[in-house]
Structure formats: C-alpha cells, structure tokens
C-alpha cells in the first residue's frame, strides 16, 4: 500500500475549506493540510513538502506558486501545474471551475484524478451558491433603496405609493437607467442636502 498522498489546499474561506476536505475524505485516503493565510506561500509550501497543492484560480497569491516551479536546490522537488495528460480534459474542467492544481513533477495523472474530481465538484457547487447569495443580497439591497426613495417622493409630492413607484419607473425609462440607480441617486442627493 502506497503512502497516502499529502494534499495542501490554499483557501482562506473556512466554509469552502471544510467542504473540500469533506469531499476529499470521501474520495480516498489523503493527508490534507489547509493554508488559510497565503503570506509567504512559497515558503510555507516548501516546509510542508506536499505531493499536491490545490489553489483557487481567483487567488492572486497563486503567482507565488510559480516560484516553486524553478527548484533552486537539489533537495527541492520541482512542482508543475497539472496539465492534462489523461486526455479527459481534466485541466480545462479544473480551470473552468476555478481551481488549479500543482503536483510534484512526474506524478501519475491517475493518482490525481479523484482529488481533482472531488475538488472541481465542490468548487462548482460553492461557486453557484455564492452567485445566488450575492444576487439575492443585491436584490434585497436594491429593494430597500427603492422603498426609501419611494417614501421620499410620497412625502415631497403628497402622492400615493403607486404613483410614486410609477413616477420612478417612468424616470428610469426616460433616462435609460435602472430603477435602483435612480432611487440611489435620489437617496444620495437627499443625504447631501439634509
């Protein structure tokens, strides 16, 4: 039985780190280490000497990984970005999901596949959830501003709620703007004038 692969996940979001580690536990026997603070990433990784490093593509600290590709000493193991040799488009799938994998040079793609499959699936799911959450938050935020602007118009003009709403919608259409933007402009202006 081979030694379990040691895997590092560079992820500052504890939720996502927990999700990925859970999937990896289900996928096989791996030693997982999470790096939450990417300061001096190259140094941290060097000292842990892992077989695989997984890092979010959106993380600018990823560039620090590239230093490790130029192994400077004979005892250091060069790492390479995982470039698909399995012919299954795994690299493309990983990049689309927003994760990149660095492996010790010469590692068999077959040993990496279950790790990547599990990580990609989680990254995709978390990404969908995040988008939904952000959209919902934005919609709520906008509704709050629109309600506030509506109240201001009703008071200033002495009109009903429906009339105020219709007026804002017409203004937005005439000015070729989103209603939330018109509302925001009104709220900001009112703050400035008060």
């Amino acid at each position: 039985m081979a030694e379990p692969l040691s895997v590092i996940l560079v992820e500052s979001d504890p939720d996502r780190a927990a999700q990925v580690s859970e999937s990896l536990r289900a996928a096989g026997d791996y030693r997982l280490h999470v790096i939450a603070d990417p300061t001096r990433l190259a140094r941290q990784i060097r000292s842990l000497n892992p077989d695989v490093v997984l890092i979010d593509l959106e993380n600018p600290s990823r560039d620090m990984m590239e230093e490790l590709t130029l192994a400077s000493g004979p005892l250091e193991r060069p790492v390479a970005m995982f470039v698909d040799q399995s012919g299954e488009g795994l690299s493309t799938a990983a990049i689309e999901a927003g994760v990149s994998a660095y492996v010790v040079d010469g590692m068999q793609p077959a040993r990496l596949k279950p790790i990547l499959d599990a990580t990609i699936a989680r990254f995709n799911m978390v990404h969908r959830m995040r988008t939904e959450l952000a959209e919902t938050k934005r919609a709520l935020e906008e509704r709050k501003v629109i309600d506030r602007a509506k109240g201001m118009i009703m008071k200033a003009r002495g009109i009903t709620e429906e009339e105020a709403y219709a007026l804002m919608r017409k203004t937005a259409m005439d000015k070729n703007k989103r209603m939330a933007d018109v509302a925001q402009a009104l709220v900001t202006a009112a703050e400035l004038l008060s």
């Binding site: 600290s61 230093e67 990149s100």
Partner: protein, 389 residues
Amino acid sequence: MKRAQIPVGFIPLVDAAPLIVAQEMGFAAEEGLDLLLKRAPSWSSLRDMLAFGQVDAAHMLAPVPVAAAMGLGNTGGPLSVMSVLSVNGTVIGISAALADRMRHQGHDFAFADARAAGHALIEAAPDRLRIAVPFPFSMHAELLYYWLSALGFPAPQSIDIRTVPPSLMADALRAGDVDAFCVGEPWGSIVVEHGLGALLLPGAAIWSFAPEKVLAVRTPWLTQEAPLAHRLIRAVWRAGKWLASAESRLLAAELLAREPYLSLPPEIIDRALSGGLTVTPQGLQRDVPGFLRFHLGDASYPWTSQAQWIAHQLAIRTGLDRAAALRAAAPVFRDDLYRGALGDLCPQLPQHPQRVEGRDSSNLATRAHPAPDNRFFDGQIFDPQRPQR
C-alpha cells in the same frame, strides 16, 4: 455586419491600456472586432486562461512566452507574440524604513541615475535584500538582476527575490515581508500614496527601451485564425497610436479607471501616462520622459533581438545553453505577422527584425521616424550575433 468576437485577457495595470482603448474607443470595431475583455486575478491564471482557451489573446509579461519556448515554467503549449503592447513603465521602490536610511546617507531621490541609486541602495541594504517582483518570468526580475549584477552586487546569491502579485505589493511592504520591489504602475504609486515606501528608479533608467508587456496568443490559434490575428494587431496598433497623443491622456486615464478595468482613481493612473510621478509620501515630484511608451519609435514592433535578450538573461540565470536559448526565442516574436498586418498603415517599419540592443540610434532619427534611445545604464550592448556576459 456582425463583429467577430475575441475573448482577451488582461491584468489590471496601466499598460493594459492598448487593449482597453482598442475596445472602448472603437478601434476594434473599425476592424470588425469586438474584444471581450476579461480581467484576470494573476499572471499564472492569465497564462492558463490563454493556454486552455478561455481567452484567445492576452496582455502578457514579455518573458513568459520566451520562457515557455525554452521549456521553463508551466505552460500549456507554445505561445507567440504578435506585437509589443508597451515599452518600459515599471518602477523600483523601497520600503519607508529603507528610504529613511538612504535619505540619511545623502541619497537625493533623483529618480534617474541607476548607478547612483544602485550604489546608495547597496550601501543602505540589510545583509540579505528582499525584493518583490510580480512573477518569476518578468522584465521586473530581469532588469533587477541585470542592474544589481552590473553594479557588482552578487545577485542572485545575496538577494532574495520573491513573487508578490502587483495588487498585493503594498500589503507585503506593510507586513514587512520585503525591503524593495519592482512593479508596473499604478501599483508603485499606490505604495507611495499609502505612505508605505518611496520610488527609487523607473525601470527605464536601467534599460531605456525594455519590452514590458506583449500581445500573446496560442501559436496554433494563429494558423486557424490568421485573418482575425491580423485585425487584432491593427486595432491594438491604432489604440497605441491614439494613446501616444498628449490630448488622449485625460480620457485614457478616465477609461482605465473604470470598473471592470482598474477600478482606481484616474489621478493615480495619470501619473504613469504623463510620466510625472510622485516618488515619496512627502510629495517629491519627478518627471520621466519616455516613462511608458505605447507607440513612439516603433514601440510595438516585436524585435526578435528583444526576445533573444530575454532568453540570454534567462539562460545565464538558469544555466541553460545560451545558443540554444537564443535559437528557441527568436521565432516567438512574430515580426512577420506584424509586418503583414501593418504594412499599409506604417510603411516605414524596420527593415530587419534583429538589432543590437543598447546601441543608441537616436542619431538615425528623422522627424517622420523618431527613434527613442535604446541604452543600458552601464553602456553595454547586446548583439544577438555575438552575445557576451
């Protein structure tokens, strides 16, 4: 007519301007193109987005395609350079603590003399100088190695060059992780603005005609999409020409400042475009002619000798065979494509794609064809036919 769409990746830096301007000012549309500009979080991501087809063209550090051709670093396949997007435009800066020490030792922060600034830095530097660059394969790293070793500073043995992404440069200084840095604008000015450090030299003070960013594509894409490549070169060339005009500066800074491009105040961006930089948190002003070039003096022409200079430096540093490196690098910069695309727009293109880098040719300049100087600070030249050092 429906315009052809090309996804193009960029990193939020002032020198991404030719791509942003090509799209925003309609130069792409004139060529029947619609550039879908995608902002990338890091150079390694952008290189992979290009290699794996998320984008078809990219704003790229000039040494990345050369390193790939030499088999260095991670690469998903061969890359080609269609034109140079920008010449110069980087700054070397130091931490506030190191700046104080240098000031006490009498350094004037003239921001021009690479020799004087280098000696002052070496004198004030701690035992092991920690310098940040944005990427291991970058002109930033090459210029630093060239500069410090020409001054007798035994780089890389006694300096510790670390990778810090441009947008995190200020954080690295704040955390005390580095003593000095080399970065593209506006990230050097951001450091000054936060009072975390001072600017010591423009990259141009080390080599006054350093190819900084290039327009890179996957080599196989060129064979499949030759007509699109042509149109893209033309659109970007026109954008560079527009950027070179003084009247364009204000608008260019406003365009770049917008979301989703740089999302930073236009005033900070204007510093690099005008070459008028604020070099210390106390507000010391310095003007640098030719701080960042997009067009003048055939700035966008992809000289094979530029690719070879990079290859030569990389080979020296990594112990690879120099002759083989020069052979591998030459075909990466595609002057043939550039010439083919722009022959009718600019009839006076250089006759031969290889020149002696560092040999000042300003005496050959004519009014119609200005040649900015091409000099290394130590007066050396690089002749690809007879490479030395």
